[in-house]
Amino acid sequence: MNWEYIASIVNSTLRMTTPILLAALGSAICSKVGVFNIALEAQMLIATFFSIVVNYFTRNVYLSVLAGIFSGALIGYIVAVLQVKYRAADMVIGTSMNLLVSGATSFLLYLIFGLRGKLVDSSLVSLPKINLPLIRDIPFLGRMLENLTIIDYLAYVIAILMFIYLYKTVSGFRTLSVGINKEASESLGTKALRIQMSVVTLSGALCGLGGVVLSMGQVTMFTENMTSGRGFIAMAAASLGVSHPLLTIVSSLFFGLCQSIGSALQNVIKSQLTMTLPYIATILALMLSGWRSLKSKNGRSI
């Protein structure tokens, strides 16, 4: 196995990680305010669609990115209204939103373009790739970091900013307090409902950005259901990262890696079996972290 190949696996891991990381951050921040959001898939998919639609009509990258973020946020807002404000069951909302958006995007694709299945067009503009001038020339590193978009970097910045916001700022503190004890935070005038709703909307925007990087960064097209379960993987990643922004970076990278390694293993093991890898790895990782925290507590049994 040569170094070039390893570098390319890392490179591909980084690209595969970004949408998962962004959605996982969306999931994490929701659980920080006590909302279980499983409409991540819907929030991502709508963004892949609308970013490409706007891209098609305007050929403008910025507008497309914005369209993606806004459409994701819009779905987030609907989820917020139904789930937070009207307290509908999270599972029902999430499941039917995922289904609804998958149907709606296919339908709209047909309605707007008369197309079925996918929109691929050479006129679509992809996100500019950044090949950093100095790093590009370092052999291994340059190879690892080639062809990443600004959002691939931005995802990590967002994670760090989210960490700073939650743990260092006043309004972050209030946001966290809603998740810790909603009643208490409300008793001192925090508008808990509003915070929860904006956080869920924000998670929509984050997933939206994840969708954008999928449809305009990794590839430049829209195809039906192109998120292919990344929202659920993101949920697992957030859970593995105990909803902490920085740990979520680690767990998302882990999932990205599982996918690349899984593909590499396909030459040896049947693909059906390699595809279980990320899922089994998640369970093992959760077991490990559970076992460690139990061991450190060591105290009373059930």
């Binding site: 006043v170 309004s171 972050g172 503190f173 810790i180 004890n181 208490a184 001192l188 060591n298 009373r300």
Partner: protein, 506 residues
């Protein structure tokens, strides 16, 4: 008048929790509101604090009509409330909790935690309340948590402070300090409303007393014009007579705790070579400042926690390693100290809550199949005999007033007819009528020749009911007294970790 509430009426469906109540408060005054369980005290305060909207009636501050839509509005008018169930962010620090809502900032957005700690220190000094700002709240004992609540209200610069049953969960020492604090705050110009079931506290701090019954204001008077006897008569509509407890012979040991050790997460033992016994026909009290291992002792005996070493016997048979259910059949009933955590499920109906631990009795179920009729009969019997005021068998447990819920739990455990009854804080939050009632039930149990282990932070309760008293300190038995030998001082010194009842050498 600083504050006036006029003609307040509050209806929950058909129930009138408040019925045309008036209340007024002057600056620097301490007003005590007393009344039986479910009289509507908490409801009135929730209205004042903007947590509930009155069905009718108005609130005036300095003669100005107010409309409170939320606690936020009330706070803006300098009304603060120390709620019964603490509104604290448990995993956060004391300082973070106190400054919550008006946090000090660095460069406009960042939370200045250092300043928060400094502010907390200043605040503590100003009001003479000490607490370490960097402690994590969940690690603080209840008394300290309440202090955090008070400091929170003070930091909000409240001039009217409401306390809803602040002493119910405190140790006598903590109560003493609380009352001192309240008086001090009043002397600094704060106006205070306090709800309590402990009339001695009323007599100690209040300037005026308002008595409520069945949602109505019955009477209001200056403290100097009334007495404990009169207040209790007004509250429950009858005289409470002090009871004589006849001495009684004990027969055989029921509970025998031998050399019990429960180790904690660090090196220290939570319970350290702890040995006590309770005989048939006696009430044994455990006195101690809460947090010295009482909760763990109960958990060890009832089987909620596995012990590290030692032995626990009920009627001569060891119960170590047995499950909670097996211990219950072996004859161990328990009135839990936290009624919402262990004692009930708020969403469950009254029937469901009342048959817990009875569910395998023949009247309730046979071969695992529930007997619906039997259950209804059982529950309505309980509610009737123990005077639990409720809206019917299918009411949700969480909607009962605290005192009534307590009565129901006491009823359920006593009806188990077990050899041993562990009664942890059996009268927490109940009115004096109910308290007297619960006490008689405990004494009945003793008279029947059963054993009662009474754990209470209420020293007077322990001293009146117990035949024997152990003092628990730091997980160890710090002393053992017969009823006649125990005095408040001798117990108190041991409870605080003193060596004996001799004054310490300086």
């Amino acid at each position: 008048m600083l504050l006036e509430m006029k003609h307040i009426t509050k209806e929950y469906g058909t129930l009138r929790a408040n019925d045309d109540v008036d209340l007024s408060l002057r600056e620097g005054e301490i007003l005590a509101v007393v009344g039986e369980n479910g009289a509507g005290k908490s409801t009135l305060m929730k209205i004042l604090y903007g947590l509930e909207k009155p069905t009718e009636g108005d609130i005036y501050i300095n003669g100005e009509l107010q409309k409170f839509r939320s606690p936020h509005d009330a706070m803006a008018k300098k009304i603060g409330m120390v709620q019964q169930h603490f509104m604290l962010l448990q995993p956060c620090t004391v300082a973070e909790n106190i400054v919550y809502g008006h946090e000090p900032k660095k460069s406009g957005i960042f939370f200045d935690r250092k300043r928060a700690a400094a502010i907390t220190k200043e605040l503590c000094e100003k009001y003479g309340l000490s607490i370490d700002p960097s402690l994590i709240v969940s690690n603080c004992p209840v008394g300290l948590q309440q202090r955090v609540e008070i400091l929170k209200v003070l930091y909000q610069d409240a001039s009217i402070i409401i306390f809803d049953e602040p002493s119910a969960v405190l140790t006598p020492q903590e109560v003493g300090e609380l009352l001192k604090t309240i008086k001090k705050l009043a002397s600094m110009g704060k106006s205070i409303i306090i709800i309590t079931h402990k009339l001695s506290e009323v007599m100690e701090v209040a300037d005026r007393v308002m008595v409520m019954r069945q949602g109505k204001r019955i009477k209001e008077m200056a403290k100097s014009e009334t007495s404990i006897e009169e207040l209790s008569f007004l509250m429950v509509g009858r005289h409470i007579v002090e009871r004589k407890i006849p001495p009684q012979e004990t027969t055989g040991t029921v509970l025998d705790v031998q050399d019990l050790v429960l180790s904690g997460s660090d090196k220290k033992n939570i319970l350290d070579h702890f040995s006590i016994h309770v005989d048939a026909g006696e009430i044994v009290g455990i006195a101690g400042v809460s947090g010295n291992g009482q909760s763990e002792l109960i958990e060890c005996i009832t089987g909620l926690t596995q012990i590290t070493s030692g032995d626990i016997l009920i009627c001569g048979k060891t119960i170590v390693g047995k499950t909670v259910g097996e211990r219950r059949t072996a004859g161990c009933a328990c009135i839990p100290e936290d009624r919402y955590l262990w004692g009930c499920a708020k969403q469950a109906t009254l029937t469901e809550t009342s048959i817990m631990a009875h569910q395998r009795e023949p009247a309730i179920s046979r071969y695992g199949i529930l007997n619906t009729k039997g259950i209804q009969k059982f529950t309505s019997g309980l509610l009737e005999r123990y005077d639990v005021r409720s809206g019917g068998l299918s009411q949700k447990t969480g909607e009962l007033s605290g005192g009534n819920l307590q009565k129901m739990i006491v009823a359920r455990e006593i009806e188990l007819n077990s050899n041993l009854l562990i009664a942890a804080e059996p009268t927490r939050g109940v009115d004096i009528g109910a308290m007297e009632f619960i006490h008689s039930r405990l004494l009945d149990k003793r008279a029947k020749g059963d054993a009662v282990l009474l754990i209470s932070s209420e020293l007077t309760e322990i001293m009146t009911l117990s035949d024997r008293i152990y003092v628990i300190y730091d997980g160890k038995v710090a002393g053992e007294f017969r009823k006649q030998d125990a005095t408040e001082e001798s117990l108190g010194i041991l409870m605080m970790g003193g060596e004996s009842n001799e004054p310490k050498a300086v």
